[in-house]
């Protein structure tokens, strides 16, 4: 009987784990806009270990979107970030489109209203510039997590060509 109970409870845990996996998938999928995931790590040194990402909609000229992620660099104080777009869009035009800035906070970014604030002194790892391209991230911490805040901005002077556009960016950290 005891054996049967153990079996049942183990079955229950296994089912729970699977359910947890499915639930996790659904929950995270909702949180991230059901974005495609690929967690391959060819170099194995630079790793994203946490991210809070959501789609952003109805952006207009001058709008900014902030997202945070946590990055481990395996001892390096710098990393390379390659941002690509899945398809061409005026939003990803290097001259007229979205801009990206990345800042690092020694501690986790705090969500306050619609922005993330650093409870300590933040440093700029990537100055404001065109979002799509190959970027060098500087002033990273080789130890522990790098708490990064990504700010995507639609230029204030964005032309009407950016109206009604969508873009899907792919971020590759190396």
């Amino acid at each position: 009987m005891a054996h049967r109970n153990l079996l049942s409870s183990q079955k229950f845990v296994a089912v729970l784990s699977l359910a947890g996996a499915i639930l996790g998938l659904i929950t995270a999928g909702l949180a991230t806009g059901a974005e495609r995931i690929d967690n391959r790590r060819p170099s194995g040194r630079v790793r994203v270990v946490g991210a809070k990402l959501r789609p952003a909609s109805a952006l207009a000229a001058g709008d900014r979107v902030q997202r945070v992620l946590e990055l481990k660099t395996g001892g390096r104080r710098g990393a390379r970030l390659i941002v690509t777009a899945r398809r061409a869009s005026p939003l990803t035009d290097p001259k007229l489109g979205m801009r990206l800035k990345i800042e690092r906070c020694p501690r986790a970014w705090r969500a306050k209203s619609k922005v993330f604030t650093c409870p300590a002194r933040a440093t700029v790892s990537l100055p404001d510039g065109p979002a799509v391209g190959i970027h060098k991230l500087r002033k990273l911490s080789g130890k522990g997590k790098n708490h990064l805040r990504l700010t995507l901005a639609i230029p204030q002077a964005a032309s009407n060509a950016l109206q009604g556009q969508s873009a899907a960016l792919v971020y590759s950290f190396r």
Partner: protein, 375 residues
Amino acid sequence: MLPRRPDKRKRSLRWGVVLGATAAAFVSTSVALGAFTSTVTGGGGALTTKRIFSGVRSTSAWTIRDASGGGAEAIKDDPLSYADGVTTTTGSAWSSTFSATRYLEFDFNSALPGGLGVSSPQLNFRMASTNNAATWCFYVEVYRISTSTLIGTHGSSGAPTCNSGTTQTTTQVSLPEVTTTTIANDLRVRIYVDDSKSKPSATDMATITGSTPYSSFTAYEQVYRDASSGAPAATNWPPASSGDTFGYTTAAAWLATFATTRYVKLTFDPGLPAGAVITAASLDFAYRSTSAGADTACWYMETYNGATLLGAHGSSSSTISCNSTTSYRTDSVSLPEVATVANANSLTVKAYMDDTLVQKTQLDLVRLNLTYYLD
């Protein structure tokens, strides 16, 4: 062997639990990581922009009902904007052959949000000869106002569109060169005309219509140039622009005191798309008395959606302003009641006026400014 079976089963189940939990963690983590992956790929951070960015779009009124005399409303619409039988006859007779210097020209208003695609753009041109036995022909050139660049030609002197007689005929000319609202906001149409009997023509309507992905629109003429003589003479639609020496003169003289039966009613067609969010609305109104003497004209107004009163601005005892000079006075009146697309697209402004010397007034500018966006 038998006693070992439960252990084996237990072990395999334990492994199952561990693997399941690991899978759970992996799947959850993977998905939670979302767009950013360690080194290679990740789902894109999906970003979309508003369909129409916020901006001020201004338009005038081409529909006017004038009850300044206190009786029935006189229809004082722009004669060139509606197929209403109210025509504008050219100042001179046309030649029986085309000439590069003889044409009609229309500059259209620019009330559309820029940068949108345009579908089915067309010129709606309604005209007739003043001689029943005449055959009259025309062809069309389309220009950008800002650059005077020719962007389209429809027909030619050798292959024009022809009609005959004095019966008004509407011809629709497709304008595929008007691909965006930026171009539609910057349109000049020149129409070369000849007449087999060398007679003047009578134009009933010249408008541009089309659609953006979000709404249809009509562009109205605000400058009309009659070059039937070979020398263009411009007539501006008076309320559409200020400082251009063209003012709308009321049909009758006002009284020295206000009367609810005496007003000028102007109806707007801003063409806002459904779902647009209006963040500001205002009316620019420039007026003066026609008298050069020492009289004073005053005004106040009401806004309507059809017959429904939306708001009152000033009153007979507390006017918006008065003007005792010979120059135009311009007031900008905030219209917070124009907060919905329905109210904006059916907006009528009723301006009540008086004049101490019982004179007519002139309106140099009646312009509706709407700030809006579309998510």
